[in-house]
Amino acid sequence: MREFFEKLGKIDRRIIYLIVAIGVITPILFKARLPIKPLPEVRQAFDYIESLPESSAVLISIDYDASSMPELQPMLYALLRHVFRKNLRVIMLGHWPLGVPLGQIALEDVAKEMGKKYGVDYCFLGYRPGIAAVMLNLGKEIRSVFASDYKYTPLDSLPMMRNIHNYNDIALLIGLEAGSVGDFWVQFAQARFNQKIILGSTAVITPDIYPYLQAGQIVGLIGGLRGAADYETLVNTPGPASIGMYSQTVVHILVVALIILGNVGYFVLRRRK
């Protein structure tokens, strides 16, 4: 009996790794889902997109790279599905050069799935250096920074872009943020051009973005994997985030349980000394 308690105090780390792995994998394999109550700021974002008239233009900015992919990519998929289902048009660009291709993958994926056409329903502009400069020029004329799309097709050859020149022609801007680019969007696009903005962010920077929501500078906020799961739920397309939420809860409880076990072992051991 005593030996058993002592063992609790020093479980081999590999067993802990195994427990965590099982905790993550099982819910994914069985597509287990928790009943998710979306947070109000996520619902706000969803409702805003719902309210947009058909064929409005939505600008999506990819401001993250591979290391934040697990949180922001599911968010992007859910948003794209919603936007395309509402028959809105998507213009995609980005300020993190190494993340921009990740945005393109998602865009092509969802477009194919929903039968959307390049140049008519969506287009991909890519990356240009200079964060503030790009944002300010988008207020004047999009062609002054992006004369052409990523394949060097002039914007005027893309049917959907013919009447789009600046923020006036863009109904909504969605920024997916892993760093400080979101602050720039608020500072330049919202404060100067009154652009409506929804920000999606990694869990780490979400606390920094909350003040914008409270001040009414953004019309919605989707934070972390939790936010992504909320959005998937709202759009009713369960994906990696909603499935992941189960794993999250399981792993968190497992870790707390492990801490308790460790302490039980520790106290029994200490008692003997």
Partner: protein, 263 residues
């Protein structure tokens, strides 16, 4: 001379940057950016030394047939293959930029080799965070107990349905503590400490239900409170110390008291 000139260079460049903070006039107003540009240029050329060091280090392993030398060779080859692939994208592909979305470098190397390696290394943290918590979070004394509790509260407060699990988790913790106190008490002879332990044990048992109710109703709020009040206060204290210490360290460097790479 070998010592004085570097010290003078350090003094001048450090001093100029500080003065520049207060002078908007040219060239001081943009000095920080200018220096940053210079730094980037110097660091770009120093990369040659870095790569030389990396390749030589591994080439020596290959040459001397040290253990694991085939891996060292794989490292050298992967360096050159990646580098040449990038060069190919610069020279032969229409965008002349390996980081353009259409470049084969980005499409294949970056997406299928680099990203999985990076993301998986990063993902290892989920395992390590569990093993570190298990090993280190022991209620040794009052402070480590507080650390443990605040970690557990925030952890459960951040996940959906966390508040459903929390009452059970903390109920078990309280129960265990109570049992511990009773055992301690049973081993003591009658006295103040014995009754104190018994009282603590009873108190913990009595607290299980109300605390459980409280957690069920307010857990996410409690977690936020911990983050926004005590967490913030300590973080701020540490940051003020870091700022004072860092400025003092900078001054020591500028006036030449601190010279790590010089005698």
């Amino acid at each position: 001379m070998k010592r004085e000139i570097p010290l003078a260079i350090t003094f001048i460049s450090g001093f100029l940057l500080i003065v520049a903070l207060f002078i908007p006039h040219k060239p001081f107003g943009t000095l920080q950016e200018t220096f940053n540009d210079w730094y980037i240029i110097v660091s770009g050329f120093t990369m040659i030394l870095g790569i030389d060091s990396l390749l030589l280090h591994n080439w020596n392993k290959v040459k001397r047939r040290k253990s694991d030398w085939p891996y060292a060779l794989a490292l050298i080859m992967s360096f050159f293959l990646t580098f040449l692939w990038g060069l190919y994208s610069i020279v032969y592909e229409p965008t002349h930029n390996p980081f353009a979305p259409t470049a084969s470098f980005l499409k294949y190397f970056y997406k299928s080799i680099f990203v999985p390696l990076q993301a998986t290394m990063f993902a290892l943290l989920a395992f390590f965070i569990a093993s570190a918590a298990y090993r280190a979070f022991r209620a040794r004394e009052i402070n480590s107990t507080l650390l443990l509790f605040s970690a557990a509260l925030v952890m459960l407060g951040r996940v959906p349905e966390g508040e459903q699990a929390a009452p059970y988790v903390f109920g078990i913790i309280f129960l265990l503590f109570a049992v511990y106190f009773f055992i301690e008490a049973s081993l003591l002879t009658a006295g103040f400490l014995k009754y104190l332990y018994i009282a603590l044990g009873v108190l913990l048992l009595a607290a299980i239900y109300p605390v459980g109710k409280l957690l069920l109703a307010y857990l996410p709020k409690i977690a936020d409170w911990i983050m926004n009040i005590p967490q913030l206060a300590a973080k701020r204290g540490i940051l003020i110390g870091v700022a004072l210490g860092g400025i003092a360290m900078s001054l020591r460097i500028i006036v030449g008291i601190e010279r790590t790479y010089l005698k």
